[in-house]
Homo-oligomer: 699 residues x 2
Amino acid sequence: MLDALLRPGSVAVIGASRTPEKVGHELVANLIESGFEGKIIPVNPSADSVLDLPCYPDLKSAEEKIDLSIISVPTKFVRQAVYDSVDAGAEAIVIITAGFKEVSEEGAAQEREIAEYCRARNVSLLGPNCLGLINAHHKMNASFASQMPQPGGISIFSQSGALCTAILDWAKARQLGLSKLISMGNKADLSETDFLKAFAEDEETKVIVGYLESVDSGDQFIKAAELAASKKPVVIFKSGVTQAGSKAASSHTGSLAGADIAYGAAFHRSGIIRAENFEAMFNYATAFAMQPLPKGDNVAIITNAGGPGIMAADAVEQCGMQVHALSGSAASALAAKLPVAASVGNPIDVLGDADPERYVDAVNAAQNDPGTDAIVVILTPQAMTKPAETARAIAECNRSEKPILACFMGGVDVMPGRDELVAHNLPDYTSPDRAVASLRAMWEYAQWLNRPPRVVRRFPVNRRRVERIIQRHIRSGQYQVGEAAAKDILRAYEFEVPPGSLAMDGTQAIEIAERIGFPVAMKIASQDIIHKSDMGGVKLNLADGDAVIDAYDLMMLRIKQRVPNARIDGVYIEKMCPKGREVILGMTRDPQFGPMLMFGLGGIFVEVMKDVTFHIAPITENEAMDMLESTKSYALLKGVRGQASVDLAAIATSLQRISQLVTDFPEIAEMDINPFMVGQMGKPSTAADARITLKPQDN
Amino acid sequence: MLDALLRPGSVAVIGASRTPEKVGHELVANLIESGFEGKIIPVNPSADSVLDLPCYPDLKSAEEKIDLSIISVPTKFVRQAVYDSVDAGAEAIVIITAGFKEVSEEGAAQEREIAEYCRARNVSLLGPNCLGLINAHHKMNASFASQMPQPGGISIFSQSGALCTAILDWAKARQLGLSKLISMGNKADLSETDFLKAFAEDEETKVIVGYLESVDSGDQFIKAAELAASKKPVVIFKSGVTQAGSKAASSHTGSLAGADIAYGAAFHRSGIIRAENFEAMFNYATAFAMQPLPKGDNVAIITNAGGPGIMAADAVEQCGMQVHALSGSAASALAAKLPVAASVGNPIDVLGDADPERYVDAVNAAQNDPGTDAIVVILTPQAMTKPAETARAIAECNRSEKPILACFMGGVDVMPGRDELVAHNLPDYTSPDRAVASLRAMWEYAQWLNRPPRVVRRFPVNRRRVERIIQRHIRSGQYQVGEAAAKDILRAYEFEVPPGSLAMDGTQAIEIAERIGFPVAMKIASQDIIHKSDMGGVKLNLADGDAVIDAYDLMMLRIKQRVPNARIDGVYIEKMCPKGREVILGMTRDPQFGPMLMFGLGGIFVEVMKDVTFHIAPITENEAMDMLESTKSYALLKGVRGQASVDLAAIATSLQRISQLVTDFPEIAEMDINPFMVGQMGKPSTAADARITLKPQDN
């Protein structure tokens, strides 16, 4: 995929320049210096040659079929350069030039136009406002960043060009090999989704890494990411997570950052490993590129120093993995080889004067021990320590069955050892907690790969009925669906809803109450009244007809006093709900990622403790149960202090029904069932109140 | 302080060796190579000279007054070497040799004996089982670590010797200057407390840094740390925070790690900046050593790349500081100097082709802007970027009024710039979030320095009465103080407690109830029954005499059935509490740091949500209010959805009264008031139930 972009035979540089330090000069120079084996065609009307290559006044005069055209001319000439490129047969175009979406509305319009022109002709477009791209395996530096990385298994796409230069410089310092490096710029055409797809299929790519400030098409992104992650690890660092960060994002690339919580849910869903910062992005990528995945979470720690061993043990436990001691036989076999003062517990302490052999004995013991899933090797530069020899010895005994991550602590004396580690595909970290965090990322991914198959259950429902209700509301411009209609929708999707009906006067209220049976609740039905109970619009536990008529008349009086202009649809008379634990089930539609299901315990748990979880719809039964379990207040549902558990399956099923409802009806912008009364096992669970908001339709 | 240890004139090395790589050889070699200007006296019966220095068979034959003696002989000879050293006038001794507390009970006993011997003779003892020490300003490497750091302002004590070697190696790589580096080993005598005091007074020390696995004397540690922190920043990295980590700690240096929560409270109280890992320890220390403290939390970000600017903005917001845009006039003055495409918002984007001058303009604008408190400067290595020149230019315009922290991202091209930064006392970090975390540590410390004076209020109480109750319980070996007596104690400390009294039979129960007034509660009084209500030992809301006698008889029947052997002290009859919000006030005594006060909302908030805060007693009013405010559920106390606030001052006062009670009576091991019923403003707040546990006394 994207062959013309990633592996072109011939490349034109429109705007090639003879002046060193000019971007148009750097582009040609970098192509030459990277050892590009295809044809390079500089284009510039005012130069005969650039860096000893013949230069053409325009692309037509070159009389060559080109695969890739790199455009670095002033903004106003870009459009013509695109036309020329397409005419010359270019199947891929990179626009380096800035001055489009990120500066003005006019620029945005021009950018859209160019993108549409390319799309219509099936030409891939990278940029504008980007650094270009590098393919180390194709010996092609088609960017104006001067460093060329050594070939390796990590492919990167980045929404920040400047970050690419930092990445290159970092990779060089760590002697880390890269496969492709793509600066996506304004993403007028090609975006993260395309590179997820391309890198997933690219055999030279072992790990996909991305830096993102926003995602353009949430739905396609999730699909592409999930597919890519099922083939190889995808590590993404997303910035702009806070308000301040997002503000900076929108002024930077003119993109609007989605809500961070939605990104979290989308990444979780699609198996993306989320890096919390720039360093973690590298740390994780290195681990994935160099080591096999762990089969479990039991970690053996090998160290020549007590303190750092404790640090590693702390980190393992804090991230939810297990500090694992060797089994009895493995431990005693190792003990026989190590000095008496050494410890074969966990951490395994090979002592301050450990030579490479002792490290090898310990690593072998951990490799032999069936209970050990992963190994962290720590070294501090003590008097007798031989960092380089130790690194080589570990590399030699490494059977590549279990991940081995190293932490050679220090900065100068240990450097030969750190270099040897990386040269032998053993990832090395500056402190034990970083090694453990990377291991934890591997374990998380391993679990995701082994997740149960996603089966979304579909319930038999009365979809037509909901369609009619929604259409009726939309036709009358009523986007707030009142309680009565919302409950009709829920009934159509087989929710347990208390019997109830809308009364238009007091007499009718009594009739309804007598039909459904006492005690009843009474709630004002009006799209103009949001906080019903604050306005005197709710009465509960009415035991007989007298109570109903009194409550009705009083309610009408209060509403007239408090919300004189409210349009009243009537009063909703409903049988009182059976008691239960109050939870909230909801959905809000994220502009990027679509329907986000919400779950939390009612009242203060949501409002004060913010103890809620989100998941992108559609949702499976496992995922629904996960949502329950990942709240802190889950213990209350399971029952504390000898209380019985509530009907957890009833909540999970309801979340799945909401999932089906909001997937069936994109017209639903938001909804919540608050409270949903969950009974104990065998007792009914009921939607006590519900609210649905529809999306105003464009046409 | 500790002059003989830190700045000796003459140093003996007992166990000096001619064999390279032996510790006794390295010690002498390192002293010589570090340029030590005092006298070095090697001692070894089987050598005439070591490294060209005359060597003596024993210390006596040297006939020299020595200040510091460094002992590196086999464990069994250490004791004699200590005696000889003291006889030769040594005022400080370092025992390098291992094989004491960390290996056996016998070793521990020998270690104690040696420490007592030294203490009785006023001789400072460092170790055993340590690496030694370094004083860069005194040109003295009295350790067997071969690297000698350049002189600087950071002094370090470490409970791990191996970590010292990593620290030295790291400092070398970063060209970071150190003042003293102390490996504390087993801490038989000198410990963190001593070095906190010594470094606090040491003029060459600007920042104190410590690595700890445990603290020996919590009380003295807090005092020394608070005093030191009031003079200069104290950064401590404490490992062994989790169960696994603690286990590793106890098998490592034979020390028991205190509970992490107590360490957190102790550090918070004494103004210690806690580093969460090895790297943070350095990052924070570097910032403190090089830059002035911020006067506020408004951060200006200057960058030549959008992405990293967003990362910094994210980090600033996430850590609770403010992303600050320049004021209008400062912004427009800067805008006039920068290219049109640059952004003078925040982050200030000086663009990818920024030269040093543009950085200087931006830094000056931020320095001139009165609203800016701190500056983060980010650089990525783009085509036109000049890292070294930019670093020098920033250093030149730095007025040292506001902290400037840099992040030059990358690994090779930016290195000249990073080196220049450090050479000019500008701290540099590998990623924007690290720079911001360091700034946040500075801001936290600045706030601590400006904290209001700690005034611990003392309430008039009946201390004698409590003394009598406690003594009575201790004499009779009754360490669980029952509710009746616990409430008497609370009354003596002027808590609001419902009137109540112990009844020995049904008739008395009715009498008491009639005296105090209905409705009453009735609770079994027995040290053998912990969960009173589960055993049928609690009845509430008894409205009249009949109810009281029924409840009494039923309770006696149930208790006899369910806890047949319980010793019954009677039944506690108490007036029902006025309703209120249930909170829990408590105290548990940490083995290291003493009384830890606890606060949380009652029931599920403590049990399920673990939403509690701790503070070390004695506590001030501000600190008590801080405890309330730092729970998530604080919003409930303040009143959500138009509810009135509860009487916050009543809770704060009660915490202060508990603080006074547990400070007055170290015999109290644990106590809690659960629930404490807080009324709304102007309504009473009452201790509804209370439990006190006394410490079994040794004599």
